[in-house]
């Protein structure tokens, strides 16, 4: 490709654009002010003929920088993609952004035309600063997947990835595979009653079934594509998707280093320790046990009855206490429910019916019984049919003795009751086996020296070890600037924050699966393992092409920085929400393309403006701000700059126009990748250029944040606190710059916020900085 840039603007006159706007005047603006080499109109640019016209100019005339002045960038995406050509493309939004957002009246005609002309100027300014993105050359295709954890989730992930043709290193810290599931006597049935089951109380219903773990271990061990590392841990993980370098060390200290494409963390859970609940006497009464301990008793029973631990007496009556230490607001207990305990207790009650006979009393004390879905509800029914007793009651105390006395408050009868049993089984919750949360650590580390940092980290690790019964030893030992392990969402679970995107990880190419991600049963864990394996192989393929993963999937652009301008302030490395940026030996930032999600938060963070993407930079947006016309003060035509997040706010404004909402004629909207990418310099430049108001529209911040780049919106808000100084130095009113949270559903509110700024400007007057 020649380096020569050839600029072209194509103006669509379809969808009423030609009727509402003076297209030849737009052409003039693109030619004379925008200085485009080629300017053409088309009556329907998205038609086959229209697209071909552009393609011909690319192929025959060397056009490589293209302005499409037509509809919103959200519309006709496929038509204007030109995937086979190396071109930079931007869109001037004349339809949703102008004519659909403005009334079709004589009075409005002039300002509507001015709006359109500005969007042409802005797009022409932007395209001159853009380059067609191309891969960095860092990428490699590496088909090896690392799976950490050899329980049912990890084994499933390994088998699923191997079945798709990838190779797997499966690392397990114990001396054998299988995890908790290997210790189970049976599992909860996966399926509901089959089709044709009669609608009668006597119908056969699902019963506990074999776990299949032994077969699965055999399948893993005999699979040529899976290499199992037992008694092993990950001692170091460096690099990036497609080129991770992972040290796998055995207990005896032998270390192998493997090249890895992507990682699945399936480190499972630890049962919560109920020893602290003195009223239940788990710590001092051998006949009060956990569900997992009961599995061992059932295994030991062979074909005979299940016997209790204290004296080996055959159990004639057993009581299950549900949700022990769960759904609790007490400090040492779990605030959540593990969701699976009720099904497990039904399964175990059925063990007793099978091994100890139908006359063995089995009582399950619950508050809200959770047996969801078709398989869940059928298994509940199976328990009822087989004589399991369900009592809605709060268990208040277990009194040890030859026969244990269980005291409870029966919620149905609203009275206190006592039951005498041989054995009490506690449903305790799942505590995720996650490593230390990088953000719990780093927040208190800022500004510390390396030594202080280490001491602080150590102290935190000790503290965390005291708080829960799980180890906070690192699992992945990432060499990332921002901590050694996956960030946690809540209560130690390494889950995604997003309901639509359960695998939207904050460490690209590293996916959590199974109960470390959220509490789940075996069936769900196996689904989850397959899902994580899907994402792991996908990341391998995307990294191989140098393309971004979710949510900017396929994006080839990536950040680079101008070394000579960098002051090594480290803001980019600290603020990157994905831990994508390391520091090299000379303490310059080191971008890792395949870890990067292309949000531009680093760009927004950089105080000296040296970070840029080929097609998105301080200059691409700066040019748009600069090229927009600023009418003289006496024209009384204010200009409101709107920097709108392309995920939510921009679509909201688009939809507002589609739904017929009016948008202020003074607004000039620039979509940004994330509010986190907004450079303070844009705000300063805009104020200096004479814009009268600036609105930043980002996603919801805070605990239930909606920003897909995690803290972009929050950071923009924090950074904008500094705008106050700029405003003061310019002697401007603080209300000229505002940051709003805008949701995609705000199709009435988003235009109203712009209107509000219009009214503010009316009140405080136009900016004096008009030239």
């Amino acid at each position: 490709m020649s380096d020569e840039k050839k600029f072209a603007a194509y103006i669509c006159t379809g969808c009423g654009i030609g009727d509402r706007l003076d297209a030849s005047q737009l052409e003039n603006v693109a030619t004379r002010e925008g200085r485009m080499n080629v300017v053409k109109q088309h009556e329907m640019l998205c038609s086959k003929e229209g697209v071909q016209m552009i393609q011909d100019d690319i192929d025959n005339d060397g056009v490589n920088h293209i302005v499409i002045a037509a509809c919103s960038k959200r519309a006709k995406v496929e038509a204007f993609a030109f995937p086979e050509s190396k071109v930079a493309v931007t869109r001037a939004n004349l339809r949703e952004g102008v004519i659909w957002a403005r009334p079709d009246t004589d009075e409005a005609r002039e300002t509507t035309q001015e709006m359109a002309e500005d969007y042409i100027r802005m797009a022409c300014g932007e395209i001159k600063q853009m380059n067609p993105p191309q891969p960095s050359g860092q990428q490699e295709r590496n088909p090896n997947i690392l799976v950490v954890g050899g329980g049912i989730t990890g084994m499933t992930a390994a088998l699923e990835a191997a079945a798709a043709g990838y190779t797997v290193h499966l690392v397990e810290k114990e001396g054998q595979l299988g995890g908790h599931a290997a210790k189970l006597h049976k599992r909860v049935p996966f399926k509901a009653a089959p089709i044709g089951t009669p609608n009668s109380p006597d119908a056969n219903l699902p019963m506990p079934e074999d776990t299949g773990v032994a077969e699965m271990i055999a399948a893993v061990e005999s699979n040529d594509n899976i290499k199992v590392h037992l008694n092993s841990r990950i001692t170091k993980t460096s690099g990036a998707p497609g080129r991770f370098s992972v040290d796998i060390s055995t207990e005896s200290g032998d270390t192998v280093t493997e090249n890895i494409g992507s990682i699945i963390q399936a480190t499972g859970f630890t049962p919560w320790d109920p020893s602290g609940l003195t009223n239940l006497h788990y710590a001092d009464c051998p006949d009060v046990i956990t569900q997992l301990e009961l599995e061992e008793l059932a295994n030991a029973a062979g074909d005979g009855p299940i016997k209790r631990p204290s004296d080996g007496k055959e159990v004639k009556a057993v009581l299950f206490v549900q949700d022990v230490g769960q759904n609790s607001d007490k400090e040492d207990e779990l605030p959540y429910d593990s969701g699976v305990g009720d099904l497990v207790s039904i399964k175990q009650a059925l063990y007793f019916k099978h091994h100890n006979g139908d006359d063995c009393d089995t009582t399950i004390c619950y508050d809200n019984l959770r047996t969801p879905g078709a398989p869940g509800e059928d298994f509940y029914r199976s328990g009822q049919k087989n004589g399991v007793i369900f009592t809605k009651a709060d268990v208040t105390e277990v009194v040890p003795g030859d026969t244990l006395t269980v005291k409870m408050h029966d919620k149905i009868l609203d009275e206190d009751a006592e039951v005498h049993v041989d054995l009490v089984v506690l449903d305790v919750g799942m505590v995720p086996n996650s490593g230390p949360d990088p953000y719990a650590a780093t927040e208190s580390l800022e500004g510390l020296s390396d030594e202080e940092r280490e001491a602080e980290l150590e102290a935190q690790a000790e503290e965390a070890a005291d708080e829960t019964s799980v180890s906070v030893e690192s699992i992945l030992n990432l060499t990332y600037r921002q901590g050694t392990d996956l960030p946690q969402l809540k209560w130690g679970f390494t889950d995604s924050h997003f309901i639509c995107f359960p695998y939207e990880t904050r460490r690209t190419g590293i996916y959590a699966a199974g109960p470390v991600r959220r509490p789940m049963d075996i069936r769900q864990a196996q689904d989850d393992a397959a899902g994580a394996a899907m994402k792991a192989i996908q990341e391998i393929e995307l990294a191989a092409q140098g393309r971004a993963n979710h949510p900017r999937t396929g994006d080839l652009s990536f950040p680079t920085f101008r070394r000579e301008g960098c002051t090594q302030c480290k803001r980019c490395t600290v603020e990157c929400p994905f831990g994508a940026i390391d520091e090299d030996e000379e303490r310059y930032p080191q971008y890792n393309e395949s870890r990067c999600r292309r949000c531009g938060t680093c760009m927004g963070a950089c105080p000296v403006r040296v970070i840029s993407f080929e097609n998105y930079s301080v200059n691409t947006v700066g040019a748009q701000i600069k090229e927009c016309s600023i009418p003289e003060e006496w024209d009384e035509k204010p200009r409101i700059l709107v920097l709108a997040c392309e995920n939510d706010a921009y679509p909201a404004l688009d939809q507002a126009a589609i739904a017929g909402q009016e948008i202020s004629p003074w607004a000039r909207v620039i979509p940004v990748r994330c509010l986190g990418s907004v450079s303070l310099s844009w705000v300063t430049d805009a104020l200096n250029n004479g814009y009268d108001g600036i609105i930043m529209m980002g996603c919801k911040r805070g605990e239930d944040y909606q920003c897909h780049f995690v803290r972009g919106s929050a950071m923009a808000n924090e950074r904008m606190a500094k705008v106050g100084d700029t405003l003061e130095s310019l002697n401007l009113e603080p209300e000229r710059v505002v940051v709003h949270e805008v949701a995609i559903t705000d199709i009435e509110r988003a235009p109203a916020l712009i209107k509000e700024m219009e009214e503010t400007i009316e009140k405080i007057g136009l900016s004096p900085f008009k030239f």
């Binding site: 009423g16 993609a81 398989p375 149905i412 996908q538």
Partner: protein, 428 residues
């Protein structure tokens, strides 16, 4: 004629709701060729009709926007809307799919300018709003519809309205001669993600859904809460448009019931807790919410969401399967009759509006599958080797919330990729 480029290394995804979209996108982004077939004229399915999600109370259309952008940008993905899979023959790695495409009478020239809708007069129940409002006979299914194309209701074809729509279109996009098509193409593996439908509330006779205007379903209530919905986001009574401040939710309406759906639909408890927020957000201290339940199933991590609602002063939980609903004829209020099983107290409680937390039923009937799959008695597809190269995903497999449906769909995409990668390996 619609042409589809496909081979026995192509993945067919049946259903374009969030599960189908997810499966299709995940597979396509990993490099697989995918054909996505959706019955409605747009993607997103029932998720696109939700106002907010639990537990974050964020907006499903935010994820839809991202998924639609992924779809628009992915050259590996072919989308067929208004299309249904009517036949599927063959074996893993070698299926032939038959797809019926229903005419929308609008071709790809459509720019969504909306002139046709202005010209057409006839109005019909808007299915996007579950019939709570009307739409024109030429319509954009919803403001975010993808493909962004208008649709002509077949009921206007042959009327003057059809011609008016055609005359109003400047882009030659209205094609009144469009015919139903049937096309065949090869595929290697199939993800079956046909989703769910709300159980027919009228079948729960004692609740009088078909007799009492102020007894509505949870899916209808969801549309009502949406500012883009039929009431502009106002929570009002269908009978008289009055503000509905005293709202009852009846859990397990049609679920966990041998006369209706055997299964627990999993999401309804959380959905009612979420919808309680809608009422409280709208009316503050004036709101009164009563939730009639058997078990509150706030599964796994969601317990805190339940605890927060439980802590609200104006929300009551009544452990009871409501026996019947009668009508107070003087004010149109539904009256709920039953027994509170915590202490066995009889009640006859009057409310402004009753919302039935309606169960989820598979969209495809037991005898409607074009290919043999293993079904349970509720009509959900079980994971099974009997399914061959057909991998069920989302609510076609069980009553699931969105997060779990997406999890299931992502896994199903991998299983489909395994089949086509085997085919690719065998064919070199």
């Amino acid at each position: 004629m619609t042409e589809v480029v496909a081979t026995n290394q192509t993945i067919l995804v049946v259903g374009g709701g969030i599960s189908g979209m997810t499966a299709a996108l995940e597979a396509a982004e990993a490099g697989a060729q995918v054909v996505l077939v959706e019955k409605r004229p747009y993607l997103g399915g029932r998720t696109s009709q939700l106002y907010k999600y639990f537990p974050k109370l964020c907006h499903p259309t935010c994820g839809l926007e991202i998924n639609q952008r992924r779809a628009k940008m992915n050259p590996n993905l072919t989308i067929l809307t208004s299309a249904e899979v009517t036949g599927l023959e063959g074996e893993p790695g070698n299926y032939t799919a038959t797809v019926k495409i229903t005419p929308t009478y609008v071709n790809d020239n459509c720019t969504a300018c909306g002139e046709c809708a202005k010209a057409v007069e006839a109005e019909f129940d808007d299915e996007y709003n579950y019939g709570l409002s009307k739409r024109k006979g030429a319509y954009l299914p919803h403001v975010m519809a993808h493909p962004m194309k208008y649709v002509l209701d077949p009921r206007i074809i042959g009327t003057d309205d059809a011609q008016k729509a055609k005359d109003a279109c400047k882009y030659d996009a209205v094609d009144l001669d469009m015919q139903e098509q049937e096309i065949n193409f090869p595929v290697g593996a199939v993800v079956w993600a046909t989703g769910w439908q709300p159980y027919d509330a009228a079948k729960i006779q004692p609740y009088g859904y078909d007799r009492f205007a102020n007894v509505i379903t949870s899916v209808e209530f969801e549309r009502m809460a949406d500012p883009k919905g039929p009431t502009g986001g106002k929570i009002v009574r269908p009978s008289d448009g009055k503000e509905a401040k005293n709202v009852a939710f009846i859990q397990c309406a049609g679920s966990r019931d041998r006369n209706h759906l055997w299964h627990c639909s999993r999401i309804c408890c959380m959905a009612s807790l979420k919808q309680t927020h809608y009422v409280v957000d709208a009316y503050g201290d004036d709101a009164q919410v009563s939730i009639y339940y058997i078990d509150i199933r706030a599964i796994d991590r969601f317990e805190d969401f339940y605890a927060n609602v439980k802590a609200m002063d104006n929300v009551k939980f009544i452990k009871s399967k409501v026996a019947s609903i009668t009508l107070n004829k003087e004010n149109g209020n539904p009256v709920l009759n039953g027994v509170d099983t915590e202490g066995y107290h009889r009640y006859a409680n009057e409310h402004d509006l009753v919302v039935l937390a309606i169960g989820m039923q598979p969209s495809v009937g037991l005898d409607e599958f074009p290919v043999e799959v293993e079904l349970n008695r509720e009509g959900f597809i079980e994971p099974s080797e009997k399914n061959g190269g057909v991998f069920p995903a989302g609510c076609a497999t069980d009553a699931l919330d969105v997060n779990r449906a997406v999890q299931s769909a992502t896994g199903a995409a991998l299983k489909a990729i395994q089949v086509i990668n085997r085919v690719a390996g065998a064919e070199g």
